[in-house]
Symmetry: C2
Subunit: 260 residues, 2 copies
């Protein structure tokens, strides 16, 4: 049974790509066959694994142009290996930025990714979808395809306000889809030395008690080091502070304590 998780937040730079990549790295260490899906037209995750979103001829863009009958064949033609054995990538391309304009009004384009991923359920155990920082058709596709949503949030005032707004939008989307969508909020880039971060964490705990992960991702400069080497921190340096926090987060997600 293919497990599909998406990582999303309309706020930019909160650690969405870092979260998807590092959860995937740890899943590979646990012998899972993992697929990363880059739904961000800016292609941060694709660039993380040394592919160029500007020049790639085959990407998720092709899935939106294809007739449904060829979906399995097209999906397999765009799959790429990564620097990590057992970790594959469905890359993004900058052309995806036009999808909202081209297809926005058309019906039935909200399930393209879900259908494409289900053609791969014999090849992979786990899928992680990285979302763009915007609520458009690409994010809607990711939300329709996943059964669990991970929401990284920075521990600071504006980020909590942004989360409140995201929750409003999410509730609207969840109502329009068939079936439940569970979610887990995770505090990222936590700097325990600043008062503002401690206060925000306390506020997160009060506002979202049942949905907030116990695991907190600390600020760790090794994440940037890992991205400059094209490796998840969880596979490059499994004992780094940041990596250990993602191992804790994965344990919680696998126990799915947040199942309400």
């Amino acid at each position: 049974m293919l497990k599909i998780w998406a990582v999303a937040n309309q706020k930019g730079g909160v650690g969405k790509t870092t979260t998807a990549v590092n959860l995937a790295g740890q899943l590979v260490r646990e012998q899972q066959r993992v697929l990363l899906v880059d739904m961000d037209p800016h292609g941060s995750m694709t660039a993380y694994f040394r592919q160029d979103p500007d020049t790639l001829e085959k990407s998720i863009y092709q899935l939106f142009q294809a007739p449904a009958v060829n979906l399995k064949q097209i999906t397999e033609s765009i799959l790429l290996p990564t620097s990590v054995n057992g970790l594959s990538l469905l890359p993004a391309s900058t052309a995806m930025v036009t999808i909202d304009r081209q297809l926005g009004a058309q019906k039935g384009k909200g399930l393209v990714i879900k259908q494409a991923l289900h053609t791969q359920s014999d090849r992979f155990d786990h899928v992680l979808i990285d979302c763009p920082p915007l609520l458009g058709i690409l994010m809607v596709n990711a939300l329709a395809a996943c059964e669990h949503l991970v929401l990284p949030v920075q521990t600071e005032y504006l980020a909590l306000k942004g989360l409140e707004r995201m929750m409003h939008t999410l509730e609207m989307i969840i109502k329009s889809r068939k079936g439940q969508l569970d979610y887990t909020i995770v505090a990222t880039m936590f700097d325990r030395r600043t008062r503002a971060a401690l206060d925000s964490l306390e506020m997160l705990r009060q506002l979202y008690r049942d949905y907030l992960a116990e695991a907190i991702i600390p600020i760790d400069t090794q994440f940037r080091e890992a991205s400059s080497r094209g490796q998840p921190l969880t596979t490059m340096q499994p004992k780094a502070r940041g990596a250990l926090a993602y191992v804790d987060l994965l344990k919680e997600l696998q126990q799915n304590k947040q199942n309400h």
Copy 2:
């Protein structure tokens, strides 16, 4: 003569909103009449000044729905004051996320903001436009309206790759507009203690020598403090490290050393 600058980068969380807000704060300290324009449907800058992008009835969204003849009247009806005397805001609303889908294919919607701002040239001396982390019709509007573009970039590997891609896109856009578009790249969230940041800064200097600002914005936790109080750091604590760096940046932009 109204001076219009835009702050943009497709990468999320690099300090676009922080840059726009703090340059504006310093301009107000120099007795300029300043207008901030929030083109991001997520509305971080609008939330920064305690307005709610979810519930605001009047926002930039109305400008895209209005016939051109009413543009001056509509623009004035959506103007809001902020916590800082002399600083006004054209707010964003979450409804703006639909603009790409609604108007994307229509011609002539690329100049809405430029036209709206020129109706206000007797009220303001300076305009700063905050862009969303996505290249859509909202960003295209901001690029068409401004005469100078500020590009905040984090000093890390992936951000430099992202900037390269952004430059490709920018060159395409600049060719299609009438007249020059000057730009300044500014290194943000610089942490001089990490090797990766020093290497990336050096790379930025080599790749973009004439366009890179001398001023470097350091990591400063006071920025988050300021955002939790709804004040620019440059007006709340003008002597803070981060604020002084934006004062230096403003001096460079005003001398427009980057004019090529």
